[in-house]
């Protein structure tokens, strides 16, 4: 197929001819084409279907404001639904398919909606589909959902990667048209750190789309030369293919750079896109302006587009939608399109100008004071009907119609922090107003300065003033002379009487929908938007909002600014979700923390489990063990029988030093610490200020002025933060210093009757760790393996004779190997988090499931620990009546009446004979396990007044999992309640 609509000239590289496929048909285009320009070159105007009525549509624009020409780009896992053909860069082998149609783009069965459009007026669905109630989910909604939506996701993981990055600059310049380039040149030459970003792959903005000259050269030549100069400046970063998506607080801008979207696939190791967070001292918005259409009957046929877009296609891409075109305008700019297409050899049937005093020329016919009142062509424009001032009509046989209703400054970014644009009657458009984002200035067309000369000067002067703000001197540029035509526009929004005149072409919102919304009192702009879906499509209303406002103003008898403006929100254009996620996906979603014995545990074939960021060994399967319970039961039994070793490095460790260290811990813990002797460990319970238990752990007094505090794995970070708050904000004059040492020490629990024997083979002999020399709750500095500094704590979570031994982390691997070797004669076993959990439940020790953020010391059975003799965080509010009721929950144990039964965590408890409902809920099981020691399942949990109900049989129910049987209330200390073992 030849490029029958390709014209001469243009900024494409004809030496590169590329093949691409659309809906199965192969065609040719050139480097520098977009998918839309290449399709137009091949005489393809029909590119999509609208959302509601499935009407045939072609490109309305030549940029990112496009509502109609959206396609599924690429195939397979790389498929990108809803991609604008008008911005998709052509590459060799590109494949695209039309979307939201069945079976084909040319024949779409859903186009039946168009025939029934009168039933689908704005808000119709709020008024029906209610009978019978159940039918909504079952019948109506599935049909509506299937018909709705646009493109389809692949359902496969995105094979590409995304980066994030951070940039810093003095001045960020958004847009590279005349204003942006002049600003960048001014700032660049001043030596400032400058970033200039543009969403387009070719910098220059409208300069690349116009035929006029800057000085002696065509505008695009000046643009290219300026960009070339900027690229030579080390202090300027030129970023094409980069969209500034939003203005965030304090000069931070989000930007998305499309690194690889113009390639078939990204290069090895390279991201598809980069989300940049740009920290700027100042920013200049030079985003230009967007032309707006005029609403008239059947204004949505393929071939009807904005006049400026028609001009861009002809001048930049050397294509035309048809060789016979006309223009419909209310301003002088529309005439440029006629002149430019004429110059390219396209036949201009006429320019239809709504103004009776329209400028006349001998080059083409101008029909003044006339309007377009209808069009023809099912899948593409074939003719337009013009109604003359006299009232008589004329038909022009054209395949393309350029429509120009004036220009709207691209103020979007100025609204991102709730600035409200203000109305400028001279150009009949909203211009930036209200509170702009801090540090943001606006220049050029975005500021309502619609002439090229005005844009150049505006860019330069704005740059000079912001540079001056940040103390940088700059010189004025000598800018080339440029067109400076005054804006000559007579507001004209829609042709009177037009019924099917589309405002929001993607969402099929027509002029009559706005009238209906007004009738039903949805007159505020936000109501209009939400009720009719005007401006809610993927083009975010860039070409539709103004006309909606204008028509609402008309029917409400108000001025446009009195109707209001809708708020523009980030992102400026729809942005790939992958870009916001960056590399944080799949296994790399969050970093992994590994324990010092990780390598050894892997060698032992350990099964690992996520505990927060940590990966911990859950159990260590031995040959022949087929079920996890076998491994866990063995680890528990062997530990209780002889000795077991567990990596407990993940517990938080905080070094607390200073003359007031003990007094500080007195504030942090509800129980007293002042009198803990050096060389001793004490268990501590930490409350939040609201009296609820926050965390528990131990504090080992290594010296008068030195404690090592442990926290639970989960709360390590929060407890440290809390301690710093107490230290800096509540008791700023205490002499206490804090630092985390969690990672610095590899710590292992060595538990079981043979723990001491094992350690005596590892700990250097000069250290007496006999029961007398190193009794229960002792701690101290020791050495192992012939002189390596280490710490020993005689504490027990398992209820056995146990120690925790710590060495610098790099030696942890060696220590665990050494201990396992030394333990061989005792049959020492490694045990994981499951066995750890079993043993602590058998002992009734509270952990995360019990310290769940709603439980008090009273609930935990530790009320007596809360000292009333001192001030500590949380002690006062723990006295509130509601936390001290007679039937308060108490931590107790449960054992099944029928020993075969489990005691599943999460089950609720009912008094025997009571109804099973929330009103009679007596409590719940927090933790449960099979106890190898006792030979049956056990659980611990909270029971109302539980401490007074030992021996009672209660009903355990878990309707969710189908459990309902009796359990007996017992002490939570199932094993060695007297605690003889730990002191052995």
């Amino acid at each position: 197929m030849t490029q029958s609509n390709r014209l001469d000239g243009g900024l494409i590289d004809r030496s590169e001819t590329w093949s691409f496929r659309f809906d199965g048909k192969w065609m040719k285009g050139h480097k520098g084409d977009t998918l839309a320009s290449a399709l137009l070159a091949n005489d393809v105007r029909l590119m999509g279907r609208s959302f509601k009525y499935h009407r045939p549509r072609g490109p309305l624009t030549a940029g990112s404001e496009e509502p109609n020409a959206i396609v599924e780009l690429r195939e397979g896992a790389r498929k990108e639904p809803n991609t604008r053909a008008t911005t998709a860069e052509l590459f060799d082998g590109l494949r695209a398919n039309s979307q939201n149609r069945w079976p084909s783009l040319a024949f779409d069965a859903m186009a039946i909606n168009d025939r029934l459009s009168q039933f689908f007026a704005a808000g119709f669905y709020y008024k029906t589909f209610m009978w019978p109630a159940a039918f909504w989910e079952k019948v109506y909604e599935p049909i509506i959902r299937k018909a709705a939506g646009l493109g389809t996701l692949s359902h496969k993981p995105d094979p590409d990667t995304y980066d994030k990055g951070f940039l810093h600059c003095d001045v960020l310049i958004i847009g590279s048209g005349p204003a942006g380039l002049a600003a960048a040149l001014t700032a660049g030459r001043s030596g400032a750190q400058v970033i200039i970003a543009d969403e387009d792959f070719l910098l220059g903005g409208r300069l690349n789309a116009e035929s006029f000259a800057l000085g002696d050269d065509p505008a695009h030549v000046w643009a290219a030369q300026t960009v070339a100069e900027l690229q030579t400046m080390p202090n300027v970063r030129v970023m094409p293919r980069t969209t500034i998506i939003g203005a965030f607080d304090h000069g931070i801008y989000g930007a998305v750079e499309r690194v690889s979207d113009h390639l078939a696939t990204p290069e090895d190791g390279k991201p598809r896109q980069i989300l940049w967070r740009i920290y700027s001292k100042r920013a200049i918005l030079a985003a230009g302006a967007t032309e707006r259409p005029i609403a008239f009957e059947m204004n949505d046929r393929p071939g009807i587009m904005l006049a400026s877009a028609m001009r861009s296609y002809a001048n930049r891409w050397a294509v035309t939608p048809s060789h016979q075109v006309a223009v419909f305008t209310n301003n002088d700019d529309g005439h440029r399109t006629a002149a430019d297409l004429l110059a390219k050899g396209v036949t201009v049937a006429a320019v239809v100008d709504t103004r009776s005093d329209a400028p006349k020329t001998s080059d083409y016919e101008t029909i003044a004071g006339a309007t377009v009142t209808n069009t023809q062509g099912r899948l593409g424009l074939t003719a337009v009907e013009v109604t003359l001032a006299s009232g008589t009509t004329r038909t022009l046989a054209v395949g393309g119609l350029g429509v120009s209703g004036g220009w709207n400054p691209n103020v979007h970014m100025t609204c991102h922090q709730r600035g409200r644009p203000t109305w400028n009657a001279d150009i009949a458009a909203f211009v930036p107003g209200g509170a702009l984002p801090t540090g943001l200035s606006v220049a050029g067309a975005a500021n309502g300065d619609l002439s090229t000369h005005g844009a150049l000067m505006g860019g330069m002067h704005t740059a000079q003033s912001v540079l001056n703000d940040i103390g940088l001197a700059s010189d004025a540029l000598t800018l080339p002379p440029a067109e400076d035509a005054p804006v000559n526009v007579t507001p004209f929004w829609h042709v009177a009487g037009a019924k099917r005149a589309w405002l929001d072409q993607q969402n099929d919102v027509t002029a009559k929908d706005v009238v209906l919304a007004h009738k039903e009192n949805f007159t505020s702009v936000e109501h209009l938007k939400r009720y009719t879906t005007l401006g809610m499509a993927t083009d975010q209303g860039k070409t539709s909002n103004m006309a909606g406002l204008a028509i609402m103003a008309e029917v409400a008898g108000k001025q446009i600014p009195d109707v209001g403006t809708t708020m523009f929100r980030p992102p400026y254009t729809p942005t790939a979700i992958g870009a916001f996620a960056g590399r944080s996906r799949d296994k790399d979603f969050r970093p992994v923390r590994k324990t010092p014995s990780h390598v050894y545990a892997e060698e032992q074939g350990a099964v690992f489990v996520e505990v927060g960021m940590w990966l911990r060994a859950q159990w260590f399967p031995q040959p022949g063990e087929t079920h996890w319970r076998e491994s866990v039961d063995r680890e528990v039994a062997q530990t209780r029988k002889s000795v077991g070793i567990c990596d407990v490095t993940t517990l938080g460790k905080i070094d607390v030093q200073g003359a007031d260290a003990a007094e500080f811990l007195n504030k942090i813990y509800c129980n007293p610490f002042a009198k803990v002797p050096v060389g001793k460990v004490r268990y501590g319970l930490m409350l939040r200020e609201d009296g609820i238990a926050m965390d528990d752990g131990t504090a080992a007094r290594m010296a008068e002025d030195h404690f090592v505090v442990t926290t639970t794995t989960a709360n390590a970070v929060g407890v440290y933060r809390h301690m710093e708050f107490v230290r800096q904000c509540l008791f700023p004059d205490m002499d206490v210093q804090l630092i985390s040492t969690t990672e610095a020490w590899a710590q292992f629990s060595v538990a079981g009757p043979n723990a001491r024997k094992l350690l005596q083979k590892v700990v250097d002999p000069e250290h007496d760790i006999s029961n007398e020399g190193f009794p229960y709750m002792a701690c101290g500095d020791i050495t192992v393996g012939g002189g390596l500094r280490a710490r020993l704590f005689r504490i027990s979570f398992s209820g056995e004779l146990a120690y925790e031994i710590a060495v610098p982390t790099r030696y942890g691997d060696a220590l665990v190997r050494k201990m396992m070797a030394a333990g061989e004669e005792f049959g020492a076993t490694m045990y994981g988090t499951e066995a750890l959990g079993v043993m602590r439940i058998e002992k009734g020790h509270a952990a995360g499931n019990e310290l769940n953020g709603t439980t008090t010391a009273l609930n935990l059975g530790m009320a007596r620990m809360v000292s009333k003799k001192k001030d500590s965080i949380g002690s006062t509010l723990s006295e509130r009546a509601g936390l001290n009721q007679d039937d308060a929950l108490k931590l107790v144990g449960f054992k099944p009446v029928d020993s075969k039964n489990p005691v599943p965590a999460g089950s609720h408890l009912m008094t025997k004979g009571d109804p099973v409902d929330a009103a009679h809920d007596q409590g719940y099981v927090t933790s449960a396990c099979y106890s190898p020691e006792l030979g049956h399942h056990i659980g611990i949990g909270y029971l109302k007044a539980g401490d007074t109900r030992l021996g009672e049989t209660v009903r355990l129910v878990s309707p969710l999992t189908g459990v309902d049987h009796d359990v007996q209330v017992v002490s939570a200390h199932f094993v060695d309640p007297e605690g003889d073992r730990v002191r052995a």
Partner: protein
């Protein structure tokens, strides 16, 4: 947002952890007769102004300083940043 750290200069607020109303520095006297009532007010009631708000931020990803930041809750503009420790001392807190 950017928080201008009194020691480290401008830092991205993402490095910080937020706690809220800087009145949390003014912890009541545990021995007061109406201590529970005072602690209830202290713990639970907030001015929550629409405008200038003195609030506590912890530089978790930085130097571990608690800061008192004065920030407008309607515009997010930050007008003052102090080390919470200095503020606490100035407000009479000691040991």
């Amino acid at each position: 947002m950017i928080i201008n750290h009194p020691l480290l200069g401008p830092r991205d607020s993402a490095e910080f952890t937020y706690m809220g109303d800087a009145r949390l520095i003014n912890r009541p006297d545990w021995q007061a007769d109406d201590a529970v009532a005072q602690f209830t007010d202290y713990g639970y009631l907030r001015d929550n102004p629409a405008g200038a708000h003195r609030e506590l931020w912890f530089h978790e990803g930085g130097d571990r300083s608690w800061l008192v930041v004065t920030r407008d809750t309607t515009t997010h503009e930050i007008t003052n940043v102090e080390l919470a420790r200095d503020v606490a001392r100035a407000e009479g807190r000691s040991k």
